[in-house]
Symmetry: C2
Subunit: 234 residues, 2 copies
């Protein structure tokens, strides 16, 4: 583990005999850093420190911090479960995919606004995920021109739900305004009670909301394959 060249002994300037960095090393260091200190701790300076180089050295391998985030995102996409789309019934495959997708990014919430608008061009793992999902939809008989919309709709729900996992347990505490919001306050109380009845303590609530929405989406998408059912107001 300990490099022969420790950074306590400082390296002199100039190109080293063999490159010290590379996108894979940067990716692994970034992931480790996020695991240890969260996204607040992911700074170019901290990343460089972990890799025993000067911050400016990173810019020989990435064009910006945004590039580092893309490297991390690509790695995470490879962890999303898509194997079911080749073999399982459509609802089962989507369920496994959706739960793993949400769980992977729940721990990487700050990445979500980035991914949601990120072009897939030159992101091979991300593309392979979409390819697997698409073939699964086609195999289940989805019309080709609706597949991407359906994936985007499911993904939107997954991203939003991944953010919800990070919500504090008391997010819906109505506090001093409880008297002005009687229906909502009562519903919140009932929800907490229902979530506790089934055993688990805190994360149970976002799991239940995710399950409810996912099953509704699955049922609605299955039922609504007939053309021209939806229209957009405003």
């Amino acid at each position: 583990m300990a490099e022969p060249q420790d950074r306590a002994v400082r390296r002199r300037a100039g190109r080293p005999p063999r490159a010290l960095l590379g996108t894979d090393k940067i990716t692994r260091a970034a992931l480790k850093l996020v695991e240890l200190e969260g996204y607040r701790g992911l700074t170019m300076a901290a990343l460089a420190r972990r890799l025993n180089v000067a911050p400016s050295a990173l810019y020989n391998h990435v064009r910006s911090k945004q590039d580092v985030l893309l490297l991390v995102e690509e790695d995470l996409m490879g962890r999303v479960e898509v194997s079911g789309f080749a073999t399982d019934p459509w609802p089962d495959a989507v369920r496994a995919w959706a739960w793993s997708y949400r769980n992977v990014f729940a721990r990487h919430a700050p990445l979500i606004p980035v991914i949601a608008v990120l072009p897939v061009t030159d992101a091979p793992r991300t593309l392979m995920m979409y390819e697997a999902v698409t073939t699964g939809f086609a195999r289940a008989g989805w019309p080709e021109d609706q597949i991407v919309d359906a994936i985007v709709a499911l993904e939107s729900f997954i991203f939003g739900s991944a953010l919800d996992v990070g919500a504090p347990a008391d997010i819906f505490d109505t506090g001093t305004l409880a008297a002005q919001t009687p229906s909502f306050t009562a519903a919140v109380r009932r929800r907490a009670a229902a979530a506790q009845d089934n055993g688990a303590p805190g994360a149970a609530e976002s799991d239940r909301a995710f399950a409810l929405g996912l099953e509704a989406l699955l049922a609605g998408l299955s039922a609504g394959l007939a053309p021209g059912s939806a229209g957009a107001p405003g």
Copy 2:
């Protein structure tokens, strides 16, 4: 519009005869700044410049920049359409609410990760929105212990969809990897063609995905009110 005291003429230190700031003025200035320069332009320094004060003066009214974001969020929540819940059939009320909610926050995407985990305590407009939605659900016959989960599921979809609105038109361009992702590449092409057939140019695609998902959720939620239909794997 022009204050008698212009900042070209500088103010001397010390408490002014009447307070120059206030949370409402800060909120309005922040919204204007975001409208003009986006969230990248929303810095404490820029905000102070707009208000003709020193940056440090802001800290007499907010504890942090995060506080400023919360002020903005509260203002935006007041713009979400909830009037339908008092009068309209449940699906119509949810539709109007969901579309307006998505449209408001599509232009404030950087706020979404903040809102998603933000306690509602002491956020009166946000709470009033939840109260209106909850009464609408109760009126439609929803069991009280499932209402909050259903709202959270819908909100998750809305937040994710609001992020999707900001995606570039070519987000699914498979580029040099098109040959390795034939199914997905074909589906993307078909989607673009279908979206153009109906008239509109670019935003049409996220609108279609949102409509598809929302209608599926509405149908699935309506159908799935029977207990114990969903279960969570892994």
